[in-house]
Structure formats: structure tokens, C-alpha cells
Amino acid sequence: MSHNTPPQIASWILTRLLDRDAREFGLGDLQEEFDVRARGNPASARRWYRRQMARAIATRLTPRRRQPAFLPSAVAHLARVGAGTVQDIRYAARSLRSSRAFTAMAVLTLALGIGATTAIYTILDTVLLRPLPFQDPDRLVILRNGFVDGRPGEWLLSFPDYLDYQAGAEGFEHLAAWLIHTPGLSSDDGAPPVRIRSLDVTWDLLPALGIRTVLGRAFLPQDDRAGAGQPTALLSHSLWRDRFGSDPSVLGREIRLDGRPYTVIGVLPPGFTGAIGGSVLPATAPDVWLPLRNSFSADGIELRGLSNVSVIGRLRPGVSLEQARFELASIAAAIARQFPEGRDGEGPVLQSAGDAAARPVRGVLLILFGAVSLLLLIACTNVASLILGRAAARGREFAIRAALGAGRGRLIRQALAESLLLALLGGAAGWLIAHLTVQAMSQLDFLSIPRLATASVDTRILGFLVAVSLLTAGVVGVVPALRVSRPQLRTAIKSGDRATAGGSESLTRQSLVVAQIALATLLLVGAGLLIRSLRHALEIDPGFVPQSVLTARLQLPLRFVDPEWRTSVDLFERLLARIERLPGVTSASAAYMLPTDPGWSNSFQIEGPPPSTARERKPQAIFRPVTPGYFRTAGVRLHRGRTFTARDSVDAPRVVIVNESFVRTYFDDREEPLGRSLVYGNWWAGGPPEYEIVGIVEDVHFSGRTEETPPATYFPHAQQPVREMYLLVRAEGDPWDLVDSIRAATSAVDPTLPVDTVATLEELLAETESSRRSIALAIALFAATALFLSAIGVYGVMAFLVLQRTREFGIRLALGASHADIRAMVLGRGLTLAAIGLLIGLGAAIPVSRVLSGLLYEIRPTDVPTFTAVVLFLGAVGCIATWIPARRATRIDPMVSLRSE
């Protein structure tokens, strides 16, 4: 290559960049000048030549009103598109900035729609779509007992039954059992013990889940054996961190739980909390893991009548759920042949762990997702309507630009750029809303979903969000852009703003408003039905008097247990007497389980000739030892017979009090339950198995007010003592004032007694309603948002209509119409739209509200008061949204409006 020829690549590019007409002359000029320069300094001449090339490219990319004449048209076109896009976006940004009210409204609308949808989707994804956080979660299954004929209702297994299943089932790699306990953890410095949660597990539970320890070892079969020497324990990662400062030397150390020593052998990994819920694993994360057969749980696990273990299994690869069910059914039949007592209609129920975990909330989440999708639809129609209105108002601007040579494609792109920008802004704001919503829901323990704590708006959901944004942009952008791109140019320019919105675009916007109101009606009906259900539920008498009662848990350490439990019974007597003497206390009692917790059930036989009522149900009842003052303190009314007294001691004849549900279930009207006896199996080894019914009390709604009350049996605590008891103290005033004096009284009786989980009965009762409350609140929030958006929609359309028809109104006024006539016209139009939307919405609500029927209580999906209220409410909102533009229409001065041409 010679030094006095121009650089070849630059020359080649310049050739392509120059228009054919000018190519020869331009290149000639460049060559001529290059030659002159090259004579002085060839290197600098080549640099100069390359600079010329760069300038040619820069010229090409700079948008100019007139392109350089010598640029070839194809390149010029490409350059124009590129430059045009930048220009479009800049133009769109400027245009959005200049109409702040419109932009704010549109972005807010999109943000609400996108944010709410993403939040609900995030939760849905975490709970329903994401697999359980275990190795090969597809092979994990849950085994419970249920009715073989498919009636609803499931219960836990007894440990001996579990062992039989485990021994016989070939289709499982592991079949593990767990139950939860809450022992007191003693500290070294003599401070009172702290109540922690322990998960007592068979040794193969962790291998079944595929979880390994991060420190030390997991349980081995020899750990999980009765009387296998000093029991061992695993620590959760958080307990290890918070209580032991993440000290690795914790291995081999001894911890005391309820006074009994355990050797720490390992620490579980940080990501694994063990909280899943839905009967897969407990809903609250355990702090320690203990071997089931060598811990507290070992008490009584040999009894077939005590159903208290949850069973989780891992199928062998290739074994289907059906095969496993078949196998378990044959084992169940063998067990039933050997131990037929109380097994009528009972059979094993096997389900996948994923289904079991999602089941309690699946329906609710799908309904919420449906509701939030409606909200998103409303948001989209609202933005579409806003953009349409704006496009119509800018008809003249577009017409002029079209007349000046802006192509149809260019105008569409322009409009799309604006929509895209709106969608992106709305998406960003929506992401923020979604993030805050998910956080708030997790903190408020929304629907009690433990896995919500791990939910975060992750990248997958962000992708979903972007897709929603872009889809929205497409929906709201293309329609107006298409319409804008075929304006009747001459008329549009001549007539200015007012006449541009012809019949069809007005119709489009009005249809959108109708659609919005219909959707909002649907949501309002849903919210109304749920709120009315909640109110119905709250009106139900729970069967006890929750006000002014303080509750606390008191689990006796093992050393209080002697063969006949006299020490522990005596301890409770002394403690309750002391508490009752405290100022401000009306009465005090203790019970195994609170009235808001169904606890465990027990099976039994009714003595004597079999009662005449059909008895396909296994005779089973809630098991509830209470101290004599319990019924008075909790406010449970006695219907017949007597309550317990101090004379019902361990040495006295055995007695039991049953509830009305028990009488309804196991006796018919002609039979007298009082005086009959219940016969228990080997449940209580220390005394006679027969208990005489001495009283009948009213039903307590153990699982929340709307749940049916199962049969229940109350026992004198002295005759059926248990270690885990709840104190119930009725106060004269605020029950919280008693907390300190009750603690003081407890430690005066025995300083090592831990009092924990203090709460008022009222709070606990409210908690049983919390899921119903959460759902009603969420749907009500969605409905309120929908209503707000629809009101904006109606207002926007009507305000625009008034603006459009200013001239017409002016003429009418000039011709003698009164202001009231004009106002009536506008109001009439707005209310007609609202009425049409309302009718469509109500029509759709009748079938759609059926999906809610599972959540409704004593209310039909076609509840007339709800529908009436929705009509009135929406009507009122429609009136307000229309009234403002209607009033503006009456302020029109005919002279001004006619001159405004």
C-alpha cells in the first residue's frame, strides 16, 4: 500500500455513504485534497481522510430536516429509523412531561394494576408453583388417616400404626414421623428457662427430605431408640447463631430441655427452617430436633389410641402414588384385623407433599389472582381510555404533522413510544408496589403461609412484570395509534380540536368505561359477599366468653411427674388458689388446650347396649382435661348435670362431661346420656377405664366460629393429668394488667416454672378468623382500587365529552336551553354508561360469585342485600364522577364557546 493513496477501508465506506449523483465528484474532491495533504505529511493526510469518513457517518446519523443530497436512500432510510426512534422517545418524554396530570394518572393506574398482580402472582408462585425446597420433591408424600369413603376429614396416625406401615411398605425409601413439642431450654447463667420449639422426629426424617447437617452429624438409628443412653439433639441454624454465637465447639456440649440433658451432635443448614405448613412440616420453624423415641415424645407413643404423629415419606424412584396407595391399603387392612377397635371407616390417605402444602391456600390464592386480574384489566382499560382521550384531543396536532409529511408508520411509532414509556414507568412503579405489598403480607402473616417469608419479587416475576407492562403498552398503544393514523386531514385541521373525536372513537371510550364499571361491579360484589360473611361469622357465639381472659402456657418439667401425678395436680391446685387471691382476678383455671384449639382426639366405646343412632363414624371425641373452675372462667355454660369439683380427685369415681355435639352424635333424642359411661382402651394405664357422664355443656367452636364443633369430652384434671396446661385467668379489668402478678405467683410456687405464650383469649379467637379477615381485606382493597380507577375513567370520559361538545352546548344555550337542561344531558349520559356497566357486571357476578361459595358463610352467592348495596354504592360514585363535568358544562358562556372556534 502506497503512502499517497487514501486508506482503503475509509475509501470503501465513503463510496457506500455517498449518493450516486455526488459519489464521483465527492470522492474526486476528497482524493484531490488528500493528495495535497499527503505531500506535506502522509500520515496526517490519512488521519484526515479517516476523519472525513467519520464525519460522513455522523452526518448520516444526525437527524436533519433535509438529508444531504448525496446519501444513498437505503442507508438514509435506516439512519432515519434509528435517529427517529431516539427522537420518538425524546419527543414522547417531552410530551408526557408537558401533560403531568395525564401522565400521573396513567402511571398510577398502571402501577396499581401491575403492582397488585405481581404481588399476588409472587405469592402464588412461592406457594403453588415453586417445588418444595427439598431434594426430588416430587417423590415426597404425606400419609394421614381419613375416611375410606372419601368424606372430608383427616387425622394423624398413632405411632404403632406408623411403625406397621413403615415395616410393611416396600414402595418407600423412607417413611418418617414427626411431632412438635415446646420444651423449656435452661440457660447456664441461672436465668429462667426459655420456651423453644422442638421437632421430635424419627431418625430417617432428614434423609427422607435430603437435608444434611452443616456441622456435626445427623441422627442415626441408634440415636432414635428408647433408653439409648443420653439423648442427642440437632440445633437449627438460627438457634445455633442466636444462642450459641455460631460457635463450632457446640458439638458434644450438653443442653437441658425441661431439665433433661441432651448432647448436641449437629447443626442444620441455614436455608432450612423446617417450616412448611399444610401438614408437611410444622408451620412454625423448630429450634431443636430430637430423636422421637428417646425424648419427651416417647411418653405414650406405644398406644394405638393416641393419634399424634405426622408421617412424611419418600417414594422409591418409579413407584407411583397409586401403587403406594395400594400397598398401604393392604397394610391398613392387616392392622385393622389385628386391632379392630375404633377403626370403622378409617383408611390411609396418601397425597403428594407439594399438594398437601399448597392445599390450605390454593383456592384462596386462585380467587385472589382472579380478582387481581380483573383489577389489571380495569387498569388497562383505564389507560387505554386515557390515551384515547388524549389522542383525540391532539387530533389536530397529529393531522398537521401528517400534512407536513409524517408517515402513517411514523405516527404509529410515535404513539407507541409514548405508550411504551408509560408502561415502563408504570412497570417500575408497579414493581415498587409489588415489593412493598409482598413485604407487608409476609410481615402481617397473610393467610399464615410460612413460606411467604422466603417470597421476593425475583427475576422470573420481574420478567412476568415486564411482559405485563409491554402487553399493556401494546393494548393501550396500538388502538389509538391506528386510529390516529387515519385522520381526515382536512377536516381535522380546519375544525381544530372539537370536531375530531367522531362517533367511533367516542364509542370506543364509552365502551371501555362500561367495561370498567362492569369489572368493578364484579369485584365489589365479591368484596361485599366476603365482608358480609365475615360479619355473619363474627356474630356467632363462640361458645365461651373471650373478653377479659388472659391465657398462658405452663408445661411442667418431667420431675413433677410421679406415678399418680399427685405432685403436679397438687402444684396446679396451689398455683390456681394463689392466682385467684390476686387483686383484679375473678377466677382462675387450667386446661389442656385453649378453647380456640381443637388439640387431640381420643377414641372410646360407649358402655352398655349400642345407642340406636347410626354409627358409621369412629367414636372419637376431643380430649380435654380441665380444672374445676374451667367452665366458670372460660364462660362455657352448663346445660344439664353438674360441673367438676375438687372432690373429683384421682381417688374418686371417674367422671366426664360431654358437649352437645357429643350428645347429638352418639345419642338419639330418647336416650339419656347422663349416667352412661365411656370406656377407654389402654389410654390411661393408672386407673379404671370407665368414665361416667355427669354433665352436658354447650358447644365451643374450637377451630373458629364458622367451623362445626366436633364431639368433645372434658375430664377432671386430677383424673386425667397432662404436663402441658394452659392457664385461663378472668380479670375484672384489662387482663394485660395481670401478667406480672401471675408470673410472680407462678415463681412463688416454683421458681423454675416457665410461663410463656401469654395472650388474651380475645386475640386468640380473632386469630382463628384471620384468614377470613385477610381474604375479605384483600378483596375489599382490590375492589376499592377498582372503584377508584373506574371513577377516574367515568370522570375522564365525561370531562372529555363536555370539552368536545362545548360549542354544541353554547349553541343550545344561545337557542334557549337552560343550564339545567345541559346538566341533565351530561348527567344522563354518564349515568347511562354507569347503569349499562352495572347491569353487565351484576349479570356476570351471579355466575362468577359462585367461585367464592367455599369462602362464604351463611350467605348465598346471590345475596340480595350485597347486590343492592353495590348498586347504590356504584351509583353514588357514578353520580359524583359525572357531577363535576356536568357542573362544568353549565358554566359555559355561549358567547365564549362560539368564539372559541
Binding site: L18, F25, D29, E33, T59
Partner: protein, 115 residues
Amino acid sequence: MGRALGEFEQMVLLALVRLGDDAYGVRIKEEIERRTGRELFIGAVYTALARLQKSGAVSSRVGEPTAKRGGRRKKFYRLEPAGEVALNRAYAAYREMTSGIEPKLESMGTSRGSS
């Protein structure tokens, strides 16, 4: 030619007057560069010339190929009457605006003494 000339168009036309028959792309460019001291891109010169030709201010003819330019031909430009009128009008306006204040204009900027 009804409209007023832009500044760069004026310079291109003035260069044509100076160059006479030898007015083609690179010459025009050099003439303006030498006298104003600013560097131009040849494309800008052609753009202005195309615009001027469209409005009738200049006309062009294609010359013979020369070896010096790699065998490429030149395109010569000539001032047309419409261009002369426009240039004259621009010059008159400029003169009217500057008459009597020349000393002042010339002292402007220099008093601050850049270099």
C-alpha cells in the same frame, strides 16, 4: 429566489464569486476554510450547493476526467442571476447594518485580547 440566505450559503456563494470558472467542490471548501479558518466537511458543501441549485441560485456542469483525481470528473458550479440578486441583497443588508459602526465592530473582542 425569495428567501434570505443562510450564513453558510452566503459563504458558498461568495466563494463562487472569488473562484470564477474554477469553482468545484474541494476549491470552494478550501476557499472558505482558508479565509474563515474553520474546517469543513465536503458533504456540508455539497448539501449547501444542492440546496442553492434547487432554489436556482447556482447551476452546475460536469468537467472532464483528470488523472490527478484518480480519473474522476469534477462538478463545476456557477452563480446564477437569482443567486446574484440574493447575494447582493444579503450584502446590502449587511452593509446597512454595519455602516458607521465598523470601527466599533472591529475593536470588538480584540480589546479583551485573547492571544
